[in-house]
């Protein structure tokens, strides 16, 4: 009997939780705010689902109920991706090693 592919995805999921656990504990507390904004940005990789949804119409009807929800999701996720990465970059730029004052 073959193993259901779901089991493989579940394995990836469980292992990633452990990876996340150890990686996040090693994040320095002073960078917890950038951590939140960058996790925000990467969780918007949900845009891949939104793109598939948006492209679900055929060439005659680009817009149907399903693809409209897809397009809306694309816009929302894009706000997050650009906003999240850029604001993280802006914050991290402030943490540049500064020359000590005198």
């Amino acid at each position: 009997m073959e193993i259901d592919p779901l089991i493989f995805r579940l394995s990836i999921f469980i292992l990633s939780i452990f990876v996340g656990y150890y990686v996040v504990w090693s994040v320095t507390p002073s960078l917890h705010t950038p951590l939140m904004s960058v996790t925000n940005a990467i969780s918007s990789v949900i845009i891949v689902g939104a793109i598939i949804a948006g492209l679900s119409g055929n060439s005659d009807t680009v817009f149907n109920t399903s693809s409209i929800f897809g397009f809306l999701a694309i816009a929302l996720a894009a706000v997050n991706i650009f906003g999240g990465f850029l604001v993280t970059q802006r914050m991290l730029a402030m943490y540049k090693k500064k020359k000590k004052n005198k």
């Binding site: 990633s16 994040v27 960078l31 705010t33 951590l35 060439s59 897809g70």
Partner: protein
Amino acid sequence: MISPNLSAIFYLVSGVLFILALRGLSSPETSRQGNFFGILGMIIAVTVTFLSTGNFSTGFIFVLIFILIGGSIGAFIAYKIPMTAMPELVAGFHSLVGLSAVFVAISAFLNPEAFNLGKPGNIKLGSLIEMSIGAAVGAITFSGSVIAFLKLQGIMSGSPITFKGQHPLNAIILISIIVLIYLLCSTQSSHLFWILLSVSFLIGFLLIIPIGGADMPVVISMLNSYSGWAAAGIGFTLENTALIITGALVGSSGAILSYIMCKGMNRSFFNVILGGFGATDKTANNSSKEQRPVKSGNADDAAFLMKNASSVIIVPGYGMAVAQAQHALREMVDTLKKNDIKVSYAIHPVAGRMPGHMNVLLAEANVPYDEVFELEEINNDFANADVAFVIGANDVTNPVAKTDPQSPIYGMPVLDVEKCKSVLFVKRSLSPGYAGIDNDLFYKENTLMLFADAKKMTEDITKNL
């Protein structure tokens, strides 16, 4: 069009890049490189999705247009937002992740063929379960984050909103969500799908309204975690590795942050979630409060004390963020340093309205991060310091947490500010902090209260130095 196997490998690569993005945050030096990995991972994921659908017709143009619209709004916000508003921004972004998860789930439910999930009314059972969980968690994330955003922005009162029967009601709704998912999967009825979404929106709203302003660090981290689980749920539906990995990473990241925040307040997660901190005994506390003498001073006195000190520890709190005093503070510290006074900053884990809030503000004001210390690192130094300068913090310095088992904050780790030779307390009034209890520190012999706006007082002290 590329083969499903090849695209699966690319999704795995982008998942790994996201892990590296978080890994980079272990130190400020590697963090910018980490962010770059994150961006790279995102570009790979999006490109591979385009290539694997192989659809570059009119729809593709519209996808690009919507990315452009969303992207420019996001970029605009990212450049304009002041650092003090970061908690609101993060809450707002969480709501968007939640809502887009909901939209993707709706789209997949209406048109499952596009996702290879079966036919409308006959969606594969496994996919339907994953989809409905993703949609429910996404909806909770959305409405919960909207409430958190409104509270942080001050549009909605930060005080807990509680009513009779709140907890039983929430429990009933949560159970009904599980029942609805079960029924939905057995009947495939679209009515049940919409009901499930509305009920999930409702519970997200109800879960967050009883939680007060100063508990927001926990709430934001929790919603961060939810947004991850929602993404993972959708990832299972779409059989997409990048989404599953990312969802798991973000989910555990948010969970760890909530744990750290709860520990910083010595409260259990459920205690925070059930809300209404100190709401019950607040009245009793206020009535029994007797007037005790305090010493208050002005900028001149404060400047005198600091000029004669050899080491000063600064304890910032939410009040500093409200007064936007971080730049004024840095200028004051620069002047102190010119006089060969050793200055360091002590940050309590729950200072501010989100994890790491104070660190970002100090970084914005060009404070070198190696002068900023966490509670465990610096707490022993208070005994050797001459002056503690408490600016906008309150409960996190209250010695009652160590001495009075009756106090609601007993057992919470606090900064040992009272061990300093003298304490300067910048505060607008004697009013108690969030926990609704008096701070004994106000009445100590060696405490000098500076009643003023944090920014103005700091500027005045600098003039007098």
